[in-house]
Assembly symmetry: C2
Amino acid sequence: MDNKERVVEKLKSRGLKITPQRLAIIEVLEGNRSHPSAEDVYKRLIERYPTISYATIYKTLETLCELGELMEVNIEPHKKRYDPFTEPHHHFLCVRCGKIDDIPLEEVPMPPVPDEVRDKYGIVGMCVYFYGLCPGCKN
Amino acid sequence: MDNKERVVEKLKSRGLKITPQRLAIIEVLEGNRSHPSAEDVYKRLIERYPTISYATIYKTLETLCELGELMEVNIEPHKKRYDPFTEPHHHFLCVRCGKIDDIPLEEVPMPPVPDEVRDKYGIVGMCVYFYGLCPGCKN
DNA sequence: CTACTATTTTGAATATGTTTCAAAGAACAA
DNA sequence: TTGTTCTTTGAAACATATTCAAAATAGTAG
């Protein structure tokens, strides 16, 4: 999600309404590479929108996922994170500080999935997660 | 975890006690390829051990993970699954029926991770998850 | 076999993240 | 301006996992 206007048009084209809350959430996400959780988004917004609720945050995040403008990152058990950068890439979780980094395909390629394997299992999606200690935590 | 006796010896060698609950949990896991959740294990045991508690289940599963006899499978958001088959392999989740299948490395290889990438991020672990519709659900 | 000690189990309470719900509010088309 | 439909809200409910202190037990030593 690199372009707010495109997302707004997409919402409109599906008959969805452009509310201040949705705009604010989109603004928090636009170009955001920190893989925020629902709580992260909430905390970024609660000062500007003191009545915004988690229900709205969760619902909007879900909507954006359905529109293909956002991806869930489930690298951390029991806490969904979200990624507005939807091109294929991997993720790395620092198990000490909890930071998530992208690992681009140039550094680690997607594992090749033969068509017959794809068919056999009915694969429609995949993800690769890495765990470790980030440079700052390695000391 | 293909051999209960080895796990028992490992527990003993760490000064951990062999309790009926631990034995029962190990028996449920031994050779189990269904990737059970804590609840699955609980339900398998509650009839034979009417007083067994989730606290015990969770704690024992954690202990077995620490011993390297069990692996967490976090393919399903917000629900840990466990896998006693600890050799490297991938996992597939059917998004309709929730079943988890193994995908062996012969079908999809591990993506190659260059040493410099491993160092750069401090990678110590990785996993590959696949999502789709299993044959039974594809109809 | 008995007694001791450290470990383990238990049930209840708590924590955390997410979803549901119905009422109130707001967007937007006519 | 009005009406319809969608959206937001706060509270409650839900699901999974963890913590805690008291009671129970395994394993050891005598």
